[in-house]
Amino acid sequence: MSTGPSDCRILPGRPQVTDHDTPEDFDEHLEDLPLDPLPLDAWHRARGARMVPFAGYDMPIQYEGIVAEHNWTRENAGLFDVSHMGQLLLSGPGLDAAVEAVLPIDLSTLKLGQQRYSLLLDEDGGVLDDLMVSRWPDALYLVVNGATKWDDIGTLREALPDDITLNHLDEHALLALQGPKAADALARHTAGEYPLSALTFMRFGRFTIAGHDVTIARAGYTGEDGFEISLPAAAAEDIATLLCAEPEVQPIGLGARDSLRLEAGLPLYGHDMSPETSPIEAGLIFGINKRRRSEGGFPGADRIIRDIAEGTTRKWVGLKIEGRLPAREGAEVFSGTDRVGTVTSGGFSPTLGAPIAMAYIASSHTAPGTALEVDVRGKRLSATVSPTPFVPHRYFRGS
């Protein structure tokens, strides 16, 4: 029997080193390096986590089991360690204009305390990464994917003028507390100028937890109400322990993070998006802010504007699959004998008790309710194009 999660790739993203002669030597050098421990490495192990290599680190894939952790998060609150992600701070003269030349964001409408989803695109409009951008006083704070952060830093450094400072906040950890009881649990420990309940979805603020300065955004990757907490690495064990002592909170691994985001219809970079996909195909037009769709002036703008005007030949859509056999990344999708697409993320939905998937499908076959078939090891499974999210989002947009 061979085991091993297909969704965990070892991507040794690391800072550039110079003591190599050829790219081959460089790769070998990387493979010899041990993985960096994240601030909570020992904390996870002490709680019985199964650790797997992910984005160049050892990360907890599960503690008691993916389904139990998934359901706990949907009903209570789950604490996710996402410290592998890159936290970047940009500052300097002419910051907004400089960043708008790199990202398709409209910074004129991003006010202090607001966070927004954006995309790092290449010159062909392919997706290099997806990220969050927050307006801090005199700075923009970015959260980028762990597996791509070193490349992102390189891309941004190259594209931004020299007088823009890029700070990698690698002494900071990132925790996500997600679920319908997250707000109650977290509010018991936060102090600040205003109560935690003043934050609505995609807003952030400065707070203290047990005397530590933290930044809390009301956002996440599960479809539930929840928070992402940026904190000093040295405070990570303290704060994680404090939060997990709350009756509503349990630590949750990457396995459930993936099944939760899939039910929420949220894309995973490197699987659902890549340099080979356009954000318009992926339905991420909201990541191209309205003013930028007409003005352009960002990498790949020609292709993006053309995709918006003319439509795309394929679209990223949800599939509900009959039976219990999951269709995973790479499974081919058919309409009769015609191959019409490929699954990019798929698995078993604990909430629905059935397999679900996301796939790029020829646009002519993407109307909700369209009957298709997915090939899994030679078996043809009946599938139906389904609206997403598969499980409704429950973001807190104000009471």
Binding site: M1, S2, T3, G4, P5, S6, D7, I61, Q62, G65, I66, V67, H70, G255, D258, S259, G323, R324, L325, P326, R328, G347, F348, P350, P355, R377
Partner: protein
């Protein structure tokens, strides 16, 4: 009845010339929540080490290999409706299939219970 184990985490009970095959407690723990088991066709002739079944957990698909060469005589019908039996009772009610034993000599290369325990402790 004699129980053998493979280094691919299958167990094999041999009784009256028929082998019953399943995956071990250790294996189910590694796989996590099992949502589907794809079993071979009855009558299929499978060689030792070749794909015999697929276990789908929430996180991944994993192959189960034939521990010995033989013909599939029966598959566990309970797994179709309740694949989680592999999690709850991997070494009895969660068995996968029964097969003939084409070559008794293949059993000699397998581990006994003590040998398997030592094997997983070393992992």
């Amino acid at each position: 009845m004699t129980r053998y184990f493979t280094d691919e985490h299958e167990w094999i009970d041999v009784e009256d010339g028929i082998a019953t095959v399943g995956i071990t407690e250790y294996a189910q723990g590694q796989l996590g929540d099992i949502v589907f088991v794809e079993l071979p066709e009855t009558g299929a002739l499978i060689e030792q080490g070749k794909d015999a079944a697929v276990v789908e957990s929430v996180k991944a698909a994993s192959d189960v290999y034939a521990p010995i060469t033989g013909e599939i005589t029966e598959v566990n019908p309970a797994l179709e409706d309740d694949p989680a039996l592999v999690n709850s009772a991997p070494e009895d009610d969660g068995w996968f299939f029964k097969m003939t034993i084409a070559d008794e000599g293949e059993l000699d290369g397998l581990m006994d219970e003590d040998g398997y325990q030592a094997f997983i402790e070393a992992l």
